[in-house]
């Protein structure tokens, strides 16, 4: 995989408030992304799985136990898969 553009990935994540629930190493309401990367390390379908996770609004469980739909990522221009892919690649590279 090509090297992800970290700045672009972070900018997209910030714009979507991902960091309100995620940090890179630490767990917040959501798991730390390093942990996510570890979980998927070596798995060939990792990218596809995460792309789906970010675009489908699956149910997730927050720290307080409540169930919510996971945020669906928004891009500018809309539905730009390349941008999402870049973010996913960056997460996986952690």
């Amino acid at each position: 995989a090509h090297a992800a553009d970290m700045d672009a990935a972070k900018t997209l994540a910030r714009a979507n408030n991902c960091f309100k629930c995620h940090a890179v190493t630490r767990d917040k309401d959501g798991p730390g992304w390093k942990k996510v990367a570890d979980k998927y390390r070596g798995k060939p379908d990792a990218e596809a799985k995460l792309m789906h996770h970010l675009t489908s609004g699956e149910m997730v469980k927050l720290a307080d136990g409540s169930q919510v739909h996971h945020a669906i990522i928004k891009t500018d221009p809309a539905n730009n898969t390349a941008q999402i892919k870049n973010l996913v690649d960056w997460i996986l590279s952690l």
Partner: protein, 759 residues
């Protein structure tokens, strides 16, 4: 990439740095280096650092913080500072700041005088001889100062500058969260010199000269270096208390000024002996002297406080009492004082008091009201005496000092009304009264009955022309938030100042010469004359898109001095500013601005002397001052994989000031041969055009190392007729040339610096 814990510590811990480098300036220019220390063409060391620490950083549990910083260490514009504090308990700070002020035209000042810059004794070089004051008889040669070649050889350049070395010390202590004490002490040592004019006794005027329309008393003029060898200590001490509903401060301010000279003496090169009114000034070149500023002390006690009467009604007020004392022994220049001295020092004492009180109320969210008043008084308790002396023209004079007192009383009423969530209206009415007087009878009545010699001026002359001014002022401001992206404001102020003029005004300090000492009837000094003033302002900010914004504002003032038959008649000013910023991308922004300013003033004056004279001839003088400033900034980061950042800062300013005089005489015109071209018409514009460009590049080698390099270009084109007069061969007949010139320059500066950053 950065680890996330690192990210936290980068944000919560200080980044320290040490920067060293070199800069090269390619020209000598006192004006370019006026304050920045880069006045000579050479290589300068660049040095800056900032180191901070303490256990409170990084979300620490402690409360200690300290810092040491240094800037511009390699130039005479250096400063150093250090602070240490245990926050919530105490803090100490110390600082040092140097400022080397190159007098604007310093590198072009020439003088034959001997004596070091900064010193207070100047002498003529032996063998210089006497400067010829013979007036040319043919108009073609009027006003040429011809020093002989031998005399010209004595002219030498001096780099005139003055220094300020400012050391400061601060201390703060918190007894508890409510009580704290703050102490601040500043110690300023000034040295060096500034240029000043001097007139000396030489009353050798000629008929040809007088006929040409000038009436100088014929004094011989030199420009000398006036030493600024001063020490100033300012001390501030305050005890503060803040509680839930109230606060107050008890403070002391002290300022102590010491001048290490009492006078500066200089020779009169226009004569070898001088006999005036029976008094001889001895020596090869008679020596004259200027006084230098006397030592003085100012001590002030301050009280201020506030109290919330209700959560929405607040009262604040203050009182201060200050004493300003000056009692330095006079320079006793016997030869200037045929009558001796009435006292040996002034025993000057001025009491300065101040009161203020203000009540604000915001009972509803929509209306805020305030009412307040101020009272300021300068009460000059200094005694008056009659001083007999010889003036520059060696004429015997006697004058009485008139220690001026005045008080200002102000009241203001204001309301802020929220018309709707996006509209605000502010309206205010202000009243101000100024009273002026002298505290002793001598100052007020020294002149006795002058009616005999000056019909119209009567006996009880007071020491001021305008003992009372009253101002009524109305203010309205309106603000509108038209949308999230557009807001607008406008305002109008009307002020009316009326003067109670003492028609018998005759300044007892002025000479006892019945033809010279008076302003014409109807002439008013603009600062206390009756005046109406209109001020308009308006502005708008517009965020056109997320990336593009504009702001535009302007204001205009119109002043009219309707009750001044003579004197300043009107003033007008206008300005317009346009700014725009465009974020090209997250990594590039550009912004630009333009400012335009204009100011005019119209004066009507009269030749002729006093009340006895028939209505004098009048003339007008108009001032126009125009300025245009343009600026442009661009910033681009993220180049070369985020390692390179470029910045450009460009500005251009053009200022032009012009005067023009017109004669309303029936019998004279500008072109009449006897006074051709000098008594009226326009002066050449005083023009300065300054262009600046600063380009900087920062290259980040790694997290610890950055290299900055840059280039500064500055070009000043200054055209000021002021300097014409002091050129060799072009000065008035009894003025020693200095060869000063307009301070134009073209300067190129290159710099490179290495910055080491660490946590």
């Amino acid at each position: 990439f950065a680890q996330s814990d690192d990210d936290v510590s980068i944000l919560t811990r200080p980044t320290n740095f040490i920067e060293v480098g070199a800069g090269y300036a390619d020209q000598n220019s006192a004006q370019f280096g006026q304050y920045n220390g880069l006045n000579k063409s050479r290589t300068y060391l660049l040095g800056n650092f900032s180191v901070r620490g303490g256990d409170a950083y990084g979300q620490g549990a402690g409360t200690s913080l300290w810092s040491i910083t240094g800037t511009d260490l390699g130039t005479t514009s250096r400063s150093l500072g250090a602070t240490i504090r245990n926050q919530g308990k105490w803090m100490f700070g110390a600082s040092y700041d140097q400022l080397h002020h190159n007098i604007g035209d310093g590198d072009s000042y020439e003088t034959p005088l001997q004596g070091p810059m900064g010193g207070n004794v100047f002498t003529m070089p032996a063998g210089f001889g006497v400067v010829s004051t013979a007036r040319p008889t043919v108009p073609a040669a009027y006003g040429t100062q011809v020093l002989t070649p031998a005399q010209q050889a004595y002219l030498h350049k001096v780099d005139v500058h003055s220094n300020r070395d400012n050391s400061g010390f601060t201390f703060g202590y918190n007894f508890n969260p409510q009580w704290n004490v703050q102490f601040n002490w500043n110690h300023v040592e000034q040295s060096g010199a500034k240029l000043i004019g001097t007139g000396t006794d030489e009353n050798n005027t000629s008929t040809a000269f007088d006929l040409a329309g000038y009436g100088p008393a014929g004094e011989a003029i030199q420009i000398i270096m006036n030493p600024t060898d001063y020490t100033t200590d300012n001390v501030d001490l305050a005890l503060n208390w803040a509680g839930a509903k109230a606060f107050f401060t008890v403070g002391y301010f002290g300022s102590r000024f010491r001048d290490h000279n009492q006078s500066v003496s200089f020779p009169n090169p226009f004569t070898t002996t001088r006999v005036a009114n029976g008094t001889t000034l001895a020596g090869a070149y008679p020596v004259d002297a200027l006084s230098t500023p006397p030592d003085n002390n100012f001590n002030q006690a301050n009280l201020s406080g506030g109290y919330n009467l209700t959560p929405t009604t607040k009262l604040v007020g203050g009182y201060s009492y200050g004493r300003n004392i000056q009692n330095v022994g006079y320079v006793n220049q016997d030869q200037m004082l045929p009558g001796g001295l009435p006292v040996n020092s002034l025993r000057g004492k001025v009491i300065i008091t101040h009161y203020d009180l203000k009540l604000t109320n915001q009972t509803t969210r929509d209306l805020t009201l305030s009412i307040g008043g101020n009272y300021d008084k300068r009460d000059n308790k200094t005694a008056s005496y009659t001083y007999e002396f010889l003036n520059l023209g060696a004429e015997e004079q006697s004058a009485v000092n008139t220690p001026l007192s005045y008080s200002i009383t102000k009241g203001a009423l204001a309301a802020d009304y929220r018309l709707s969530s996006d509209q605000h209206l502010h309206a205010a009415y202000e009243y101000e009264k100024t009273a002026r007087w002298c505290n002793n009878a001598l100052a007020n009545y020294a002149q006795g009955d002058v009616q005999g010699t000056n019909a119209g001026y009567y006996t009880t002359a007071s020491c001021v022309q305008v003992p009372r001014n009253e101002v009524n002022k109305f203010v309205v401001n309106y603000r509108l938030t038209a949308s999230d992206d557009l807001n607008f404001n406008a305002g109008y102020t009307y002020a009316d100042r009326s003067a109670t003029v003492n028609p018998s005004f005759y300044n007892p300090m002025q000479m006892h010469n019945d033809t010279d000492g008076f302003e014409n009837f109807g002439f008013r000094a603009y600062f206390d004359a009756s005046r109406t003033q209109h001020m308009f302002k308006a502005g708008a900010n517009w965020q056109a898109t997320q990336k593009l914004s504009f702001s535009l504002d302007g204001r205009g003032t119109y002043d009219n001095y309707n009750d001044s038959p003579l004197g300043v008649q009107q003033g007008h000013s206008a300005s317009l500013n346009l700014d725009s910023t465009f974020a090209v991308s997250g990594k590039a922004t550009v912004s630009a601005y333009a400012s335009w300013q204009r100011r005019t003033r119209g004066l009507l004056s009269a030749t002729g002397k006093n009340a006895v004279a028939p209505l004098p001839n009048t003339w007008t003088n108009d001032l126009t001052d125009k300025g245009t400033t343009l600026g442009f900034n661009a910033k681009r980061s993220g180049l070369m994989a985020g390692k390179l950042q470029l910045m450009a800062d460009l500005s251009y300013s053009l200022d032009r000031t012009g005067y023009s005089t017109a004669l309303n005489y029936t019998d004279a015109s500008c072109t009449a041969p006897s006074n051709a071209g000098y008594s009226c018409g326009s002066l050449p514009e005083i023009r300065s055009a300054l262009a600046r460009a600063k380009l900087t590049a920062n290259y980040v080698i790694d997290r610890k190392s950055t290299i900055a390099f840059g280039y500064i270009y500055e070009k000043l084109n200054s055209n000021d007729y002021y300097y014409n007069y002091y050129q060799l061969g072009f000065t008035g007949t009894s003025t020693i040339p200095t060869n000063q010139r307009s301070p134009s320059y073209t300067e190129n500066v290159l710099f490179v610096a290495y910055r080491y950053s660490f946590m």
